[in-house]
């Protein structure tokens, strides 16, 4: 079986935040929870680069290691999912995660955090596939429908790639070959500074 992966091509990402909106809207994610976000460096300066970040679906994920209730698990295809019925909202996964992927809805009794919510790679959750409960708790299950995740599907510049790791790596490698790097790279110098 393949291994699912996200890859964001920072040479293509234009910080349109379409992926964030698509994810939030497509899964009806509550206010205050962002499964995906875009980070920009050197904003407004030369060398500006943006990257879209969500759960990395790590191999040997630290969130799975620290969860006291074993609510987080990894599928055979590498997708890391959470069972919201088991999660107690302790927040340990947030502290363990290097990417800040686990998010918590607020507004429970005594200001407690609700069950953890994070990127599902559009693969739903532990509930029965396409069930109403799965839709309500985790959002769409596009993987079961044979589609790529919403964010990657709508990415206008195709900066965000999602799918089987080998396929994603192939697409990215071809791109890097084509556009070159260093002095051979595309850009102003190549276009206008011909020797």
């Amino acid at each position: 079986m393949g291994r699912m992966k996200f890859l964001c091509d920072i040479e293509r990402c234009i910080d349109c935040s379409g992926c964030v909106v698509a994810c939030k809207e497509g899964h009806h994610i509550p206010v205050g929870v962002n499964r995906r976000r875009v980070i920009t460096i050197n904003q407004g300066k030369p060398g500006e680069k943006s990257i879209s970040v969500s759960c990395m679906h790590c191999a040997d994920a630290p969130c799975i290691a620290v969860c006291p209730t074993d609510a987080i698990y990894q599928r055979d295809d590498g997708i890391v999912l959470v069972s919201k019925d088991t999660c107690i909202g302790c927040g340990y996964c947030f502290m363990a995660c290097p990417f800040g992927a686990p998010q918590f809805p607020s507004g429970q009794v005594f200001g407690a955090r609700g069950a953890m919510d994070k990127c599902t790679f559009c693969a739903g959750g532990p509930e029965e596939t396409f069930s109403v409960k799965e839709q309500k708790l985790y959002g769409q299950n596009r993987i079961a429908e044979g589609k790529v995740p919403l964010c990657a599907a709508m990415c206008a510049t195709k900066a965000l790639l999602a799918g089987d790791a080998d396929e994603v790596a192939d697409v990215y490698r071809e791109r890097v070959f084509k556009r070159g790097s260093g002095t051979n790279a595309w850009g102003w110098d190549k276009a206008y500074k011909k020797k």
């Binding site: 920072i10 980070i39 990257i51 620290v66 006291p68 107690i88 302790c90 363990a96 790279a185 110098d189």
Partner: protein, 288 residues
């Protein structure tokens, strides 16, 4: 006037052209391709931060160490006391004879408030740590609420305890002697141990519960409310767990002492009276 416009325009464009030409080299080359690896390096610093410092520490501690420490605490400590009970046996004092009023009603009330809330804190805390055995879900989510309410109750009671007992709990030189003798609990005979109104063991428990309790309350506040940055939360979780293990250990010791190690010791916290025979041996410096 008209003669001036043309040369003025020429001069202006010449100046502007010169300025652009001068800045062009620097401006345009900086839009050229920089290495992606350098950009990724910068991005990493932004969104993973110094994960290696406390994130990794917290992950490895929480993944393996904490649950093992607590498992040791709840198995080995009671086992040691079980062996102590079998081999050395409890201290027995005559409950006949003169009874001395030791704990007034207020201190008993505060004690039981603190005791019940602390017991709930220990139970719900341990449930969370061994959550995978319970299966998480609604039970543990309610456990967290109970943990919060108990924590607030205990903080209040601990503050009162500090007011009514702090002056009796000041550490005295003879307390070290008591510690060296381990309170006489390792001998089968009832020998006199140096202690005032409270012995060194009770004093350590008191200061751990009040001062340690304050640290637990502060770190617990961070963990519950998620205030502060991620490193603060990680450090809070580490401190909360280690100190929690220490407090659970001493809590079990306290339970054993009052329920089993000294026969009938718990009655003094219910009625308020202690037998004189017990005081003469265990609290000889207490002025009746």
């Amino acid at each position: 006037m008209k003669k001036l416009i043309l040369p003025g325009c020429i001069l202006f464009w010449a100046m502007a052209g010169l300025a652009i030409a001068q800045s062009q080299g620097q401006l345009l080359t900086s839009f050229g391709p920089g290495p992606s690896t350098a950009a990724f390096h910068e991005i990493n610093g932004l969104f993973t931060g110094d994960w290696q410092q406390y994130g990794q520490l917290f992950t490895s501690l929480q993944a393996n160490i904490f649950s093992q420490i607590f498992l040791l605490v709840v198995t080995v400590v009671p086992l040691i006391f079980f062996l102590h009970y079998i081999i050395i046996g409890p201290m027995k004092f005559s409950h006949e004879g003169r009874q001395i009023y030791y704990f007034n009603l207020l201190s008993r009330c505060i004690h039981w408030c603190a005791a019940i809330s602390f017991a709930l804190l220990v139970i719900t805390g341990l449930l969370t740590i061994f959550g995978s055995l319970v299966g998480g879900g609604v039970l543990l989510r309610s456990g967290r609420t109970v943990h919060l309410i108990s924590a607030v109750t205990f903080s209040g009671s601990a503050l009162f305890m500090l007011f009514i007992w702090a002056k009796d709990m000041i550490i005295a030189p003879y307390d070290f002697l008591w510690m060296l003798k381990i309170g006489g609990y390792l001998s089968k005979e009832n020998k006199t141990v140096p202690a005032g109104r409270f012995n060194a063991g009770q004093k350590s428990w008191f200061w751990l519960a009040t001062l340690g309790g304050t640290v637990m309350a502060v770190t617990g506040y961070f963990l519950y409310s998620f205030q502060g940055n991620t490193d603060t939360l990680r450090l809070s979780a580490i401190i909360h767990n280690f100190l929690g293990a220490a407090m659970v250990t001493v809590f079990i010791i306290h339970l054993y002492m009052s329920l089993f190690a000294i026969k009938g010791a718990i009655r003094s916290m219910i009625s308020g009276y202690k037998p004189e025979a017990e005081l003469k041996i265990l609290h000889p410096r207490f002025k009746i």
